[in-house]
């Protein structure tokens, strides 16, 4: 059971989420207060902060000054203000095996749920539509430590028409059930939200292709796509994927919204509304989350300059408020531009690399 300090912080964060507003000064103050709390309650983070010159007498004054923990550190330590036994839930971070995966512990699901629903509402449900959720993401009932499964389970329960369905079980995709669900949605005239990892979406489209099936799903239907193809042999260009969605499901590209999130975060980024109609998509973020783009020395770079993305997520109150990633991006007037390594990019040398090694496994 956490103390009054944690409760007071949670109340401030929930208020920001409910208002969907937090100005720059308020963000800095909240993030720094959360960090100060984590210094007291999260020993591994405190030790790391001390190694970066942070002391109780020398605390960050802005969110950008908060030392960011590399995402992989979740595999190295329990980064939580509560012990594992007291955690309300934990999600498993990525790892090549379960043995070297990390865990993100949460003192409560309240912040997480509030943050995910508020973000999802703005990004995918600005019309307040009550949709039927067809979930091509891990099934929360069978994969209780999947953050994506948990997230979409909560969204479907809170915002769905009560007839949500799940089609992923481990690595298998139940294509016949998915087809039946599409048929039912068309017959019922109910708009759907297909929430899928990019890889699962490809599998679904291939299944429809194999059947020669084409749908024009009811107006208002949409897709939330997430993830990518990391660790997968099959890679499809995003534009190609979205075109195939239009072709097979009758959902326009502008109704496909890519989510960018991490198990190590409590909040999510989504494609901005404006960029859904263009060729280049920009991510927007909720007021309690802020991206920084930094150079290899950890120094923030100017807008337009490519660097690694650091996240300051105030909803991560019971773990780590600042997370450093290897994801590349650049801040632009339209939002955060996510950049991946270009396929076919010329890598130097003949050395083995991590991708080679993973491909051999």
């Amino acid at each position: 059971m956490e103390g009054a300090e944690a409760a007071a912080l949670d109340a401030r964060i929930l208020a920001a989420i409910a208002a969907y507003a937090l100005d720059a000064h308020g963000f800095d103050r909240l993030a720094c207060d959360i960090f100060a709390h984590q210094l007291r309650a999260n020993a591994p983070y405190a030790a790391f902060a001390r190694s970066r010159g942070i002391t109780p007498n020398r605390l960050p004054q802005t969110a950008a000054e908060i030392p960011a923990v590399p995402a992989a550190a979740f595999k190295q330590a329990v980064l939580s203000t509560v012990g594992p036994a007291a955690a309300a839930i934990w999600f498993q971070t990525s790892g090549t095996t379960a043995a070297n995966a990390g865990r993100h512990y949460f003192a409560t699901t309240e912040l997480y749920e509030a943050a995910l629903l508020a973000g999802f509402d703005r990004a995918l449900l600005p019309d307040g539509a009550r949709l039927r959720y067809l979930l091509l993401v891990p099934d929360a009932r069978k994969a209780p430590h999947s953050s994506l499964g948990f997230m979409m389970d909560r969204v479907a329960a809170a915002r769905g028409d009560g007839r949500d369905e799940r089609f992923i079980d481990g690595d298998s995709f139940d294509a016949p059930a998915f087809v039946r669900a599409l048929d039912a949605a068309v017959a019922d005239g109910v708009a759907v939200c297909i929430a899928a990892t990019a890889f699962a979406l490809v599998a679904a489209l291939e299944a429809l292709d194999a059947r020669g099936s084409r749908y024009v799903l009811p107006p208002g239907s949409r897709v939330m796509e997430t993830g990518g193809f990391k660790g997968r042999a099959r890679v499809v260009e995003r534009a190609e994927l979205y075109a195939a969605v239009g072709d097979r499901l009758g959902i326009p590209t502008s109704a496909i919204v890519a989510e960018y999130g991490m198990t190590e975060l409590s909040s999510q980024y989504y494609d901005s509304f404006e960029s859904r109609f263009g060729t280049r998509r920009y991510k927007t973020w909720p007021p309690w989350l802020r991206p920084l783009v930094v150079d290899p020395h950890g120094v923030p770079v100017a807008p337009g300059v490519v660097g690694a993305i650091r996240h300051i997520d105030c909803a991560n109150r019971s773990s780590v408020v600042a997370i450093e990633t290897e994801d590349l991006g650049a801040l632009a007037p339209g939002g955060l531009l996510l950049l991946g390594r270009e396929r076919g990019a010329e890598l130097r040398g003949c050395s083995l690399d991590a991708e080679d090694l993973a491909a051999r496994a």
Binding site: P44, A47, F48, R50, S51, R52, A68, V69, P70, A71, A72, A73, K75, Q76, A77, T97, A99, N100, P296, H297, G298, V306, G307, A308, E324, T325, E326, D327, L328, L339, G340, R341, G344, A345, E346, L347, R348, G349, C350, S351, L352, D353, A354, D356, L357, A359, R360, A361
Partner: protein, 410 residues
């Protein structure tokens, strides 16, 4: 491809032409080399000293004595390339070069395609090099033509385009021997296009490791050893298959920690000689994340992290054992181990394909045992890992034997 015009020359004459061209290319002011140096820098982002070092290493090694010694070792004599040579107790043998050799370098290692190409030319084969760029190989072939016009049709380059290309498929399908450098996927795709009786010489992506037992290091040797390790790790920003990707330090843990701390100072020195190139942003970000993860672990009392030369290089002491080495530019994980067996266990656990094993004493019996255990094809002295002798095997394969078919005269 034309039938080889080189058959009109003796092997000795071909080797002499290669030697003469290499001698010209050994001069850093030789205009074609100046142009190539600039082109390589532009393309790969390496610093000038690194490119100059690579070209020096390459052309100083491509000399008549080294080429002849390697050929004589593998074929019995250089003359065997010209016609039957009597051999005591065996039929006379003619090491006749095959007609068509294709060398595919989908990697960007400096000059990697040139050495096998020259051995194939010495065997009087027609050689087509499909390279990422013809800046180096093509320019060197031009120098060969200046030495002997017969090279004009025998030594040809084609720029790498990647992907499916019917013309490339036709060339591969007609080849007698194909030597290829690249990822497993690239090698697989190339192999699938060859004739059933064609020889395929694959050079896949590999890693190299080093082992040091601090108790065995002589005090007088220590500084040179540290500098050598730093050079092995930093040259080519660690991008080569002969780069030092992981160092295992055996013996007392405190001594290993002290050795690693001294290694950081050596990295600082080596970074002056081999400054970093322009890094690819994704790999630079990954290197920074690895360094910061090391800092996180160190803050928790596990291991240490060093970021010498303005964080342009990283040494992580005692990184997690359940992860493979990071294979990131100018990043060296240092694993303290009780003995070689612990290092071997790590390599096996991560199924690392090992090219070279760097040690202080290459003649120590345990070095050979270690190399055999991890599947290394080369045991090199630390500090010389990235300087393979031209007369040695390449990737465990012979230099010229694969480019000939023997005709025995009984």
């Amino acid at each position: 491809m034309p039938k080889t015009s080189l058959r009109a020359l003796s092997a000795a004459a071909i080797i002499a032409a290669i030697d003469a061209a290499a001698a010209r290319w050994s001069n850093a002011d030789f205009p074609p080399r100046v142009r190539v140096t600039s082109a390589i820098q532009t393309r790969l982002g390496y610093s000038t000293p690194v490119v100059e070092y690579a070209l020096d290493r390459l052309f100083f090694s491509l000399r008549r004595e080294a080429l002849e010694a390697a050929i004589a070792h593998e074929l019995g004599s250089v003359a065997a390339l010209d016609g039957p040579v009597e051999r005591p107790g065996r039929p006379a043998g003619f090491a006749r070069g095959v007609d068509r050799v294709v060398i595919v370098a989908s990697d960007t290692t400096i000059g990697v395609a040139l050495v096998p190409a020259l051995y194939a030319l010495a065997a009087k084969c027609d050689v087509l090099v499909k390279d990422r760029s013809d800046a180096l190989v093509g320019a060197f072939f031009d120098s060969l033509v200046e030495e002997r016009p017969q090279f004009a049709t025998a030594a040809v380059t084609r720029a790498w385009t990647g992907g499916e290309d019917p013309r490339e498929s036709a060339v591969l399908a007609a080849a007698d021997v194909v030597a290829a450098f690249g990822s497993d996927a690239a090698l697989r795709a190339i192999r699938a296009q060859l004739r059933p009786d064609a020889r395929f010489i694959p050079y896949g992506h590999r890693a190299s490791i080093g082992y040091v037992d601090t108790a065995q290091v002589r005090a007088a040797r220590r500084a040179a050893l540290l500098d050598g390790i730093a050079a092995d790790a930093l040259l080519y920003d660690g991008d080569g298959c002969l780069s030092l990707h992981a160092l295992f330090v055996g013996g007392d843990a405190a001594a290993a920690a002290a050795f690693t701390a001294d290694l950081a100072a050596a990295f600082e020195r080596a970074s002056v000689e081999f400054p970093p190139g322009e890094g690819e942003p994704q790999r630079a970000a990954s290197a920074a994340a690895y360094r910061n993860l090391g800092a996180f672990r160190a803050a928790g009392g596990r291991g240490a992290v060093y970021a010498p030369a303005g964080e342009s290089a990283t040494i992580v002491f005692d990184p997690p054992r359940d992860e493979p080495p990071p294979f990131l530019p100018r990043v060296l994980p240092v694993f303290p181990v009780a003995d070689p067996a612990e290092a071997i266990a790590y390599v096996r656990a991560h199924q690392l394909p090992i090219e070279a094993l760097g040690v202080d004493d290459t003649h120590a019996p345990q070095a050979l045992q270690f190399a055999v255990a991890v599947g290394a094809v080369r045991i090199a002295r630390l500090g010389e890992m990235q300087a393979p002798p031209a007369g040695g095997h390449h990737g465990g394969a012979p230099r010229i034997a694969d480019f000939v078919r023997w005709i025995d005269r009984e």
